[in-house]
Symmetry: C2
Subunit: 244 residues, 2 copies
Amino acid sequence: MAFRKNDEPTPVYYQLQVEIKNKIESGEWKSGSMIPPERVFTEEYQVSVGTVKKALSNLVNDGYLLRKQGKGTFVTGTSLRREQLRYYRLFNHFHDESPKIDVKLIDIQPVKGDKQINRYLNLKPSQSLFCVKRVLLTATTPLIYTVSYLPQHLFKELDRLPRDLFEKELFYLILEENYAVSTVSNQELIGAIAADEDMARFLEVEVESPLVSIEMLSYTYKERPYEYRLSYCQTRTRKIFREY
Amino acid sequence: MAFRKNDEPTPVYYQLQVEIKNKIESGEWKSGSMIPPERVFTEEYQVSVGTVKKALSNLVNDGYLLRKQGKGTFVTGTSLRREQLRYYRLFNHFHDESPKIDVKLIDIQPVKGDKQINRYLNLKPSQSLFCVKRVLLTATTPLIYTVSYLPQHLFKELDRLPRDLFEKELFYLILEENYAVSTVSNQELIGAIAADEDMARFLEVEVESPLVSIEMLSYTYKERPYEYRLSYCQTRTRKIFREY
DNA sequence: GCTCATTTGTTCGTATGTATC
DNA sequence: TGATACATACGAACAAATGAG
């Protein structure tokens, strides 16, 4: 299909940009794979190199593509799209080093849908979820207790995956590799609460201790939410770092 | 001064980009003002339009410039650089509307330097600070109690500014307009603490209530810190919203 | 180690369109 | 209307990185 000049007001490079973006978001061009070289676009759409370059360069800025001289143009995966998609960065002071974080899986269970959670995830109230409980720790000090909810229909047999996978790999990488869900954005609501007995046990603090609570929604392409997560953080030794 | 081709490996557009960025960061080209048109750069540096366009376009992406067809190229101010430099966005639930926030100034006082704070602000231990205490509230509900520290030598006579200015304008705008300090980035350390008597009084909560505590460092150009702020947030009705 | 084809990166120069005043 | 300024698009040439043979 060809572009017609002086027909519609939207620039040619932008139309091409949208077409490519759609192929990525629809999954036709998968995360990590190489897309056709500039030359192919110029021939197929009968436009100049500069126009193709502009479209591709914009998609690099938007985080969809990576280009490497001599190699080609590649679809960005979650970890490449955001160098720092470490949900939790923990520091004692500004300018500290971020410590290594270990993950302990508590359990994964299929659960019934919850009215509020299903609404956040754009699901019907009846649809079922998986509930994943984990503890994040440095050395032997537990720092964060997280409870994630994911739709069962998107993550089939999530509870059949080997348990140690969850303790070795980052959660969003597991989802990307096994279910081709690429993380594009996150929203958080941050609050403070007093620890209940569950939290106190997992985080090894006293009941009623002040904790940071984080409600998180993770989105994939097309602004589709795929995970609702509750996190509880004890911040006596390490605080949560954000930069913007 | 002219660029020589094939002399140094760094691209011409990048050299030009750095030169322009320096003029902005040094204050030679002030926030909001128009910079020379493309034509002037092409003549002065003997490069083509495309090269100038690339340099300028990169600085637009980095948030330093704004370009408007038919008008010109302008240096971005803090509020333009980041459409959402609202330090605190408060929500009950995801997708809520952000409420209007009022500010009540408690006091501004000159104080002696503090070892740790002065280190964060890259000051000698002896240099004095201003301490600004404020309460942020919606309607009549106090939400956040903040204590800011700013170096006296940068913000001369800050305590002489009319008090009601602090209750009408955003803090970073006051600093930008009166002291030409443009906010480029922020770092935060988020933790949870139990309210002490001061916090409890200002936030109208009970002593020992869990609060979110935020340590914030604000930076201007050249990664120079200019404000250290401690915030205490009661999050029973409104939570702190973050998106990334 | 060298050469060659492929692919992206940089730069030039030109022409035309469009928004602003 | 005209002058100015940025936006879009074309096409060409050469540079630089990569990988295969």
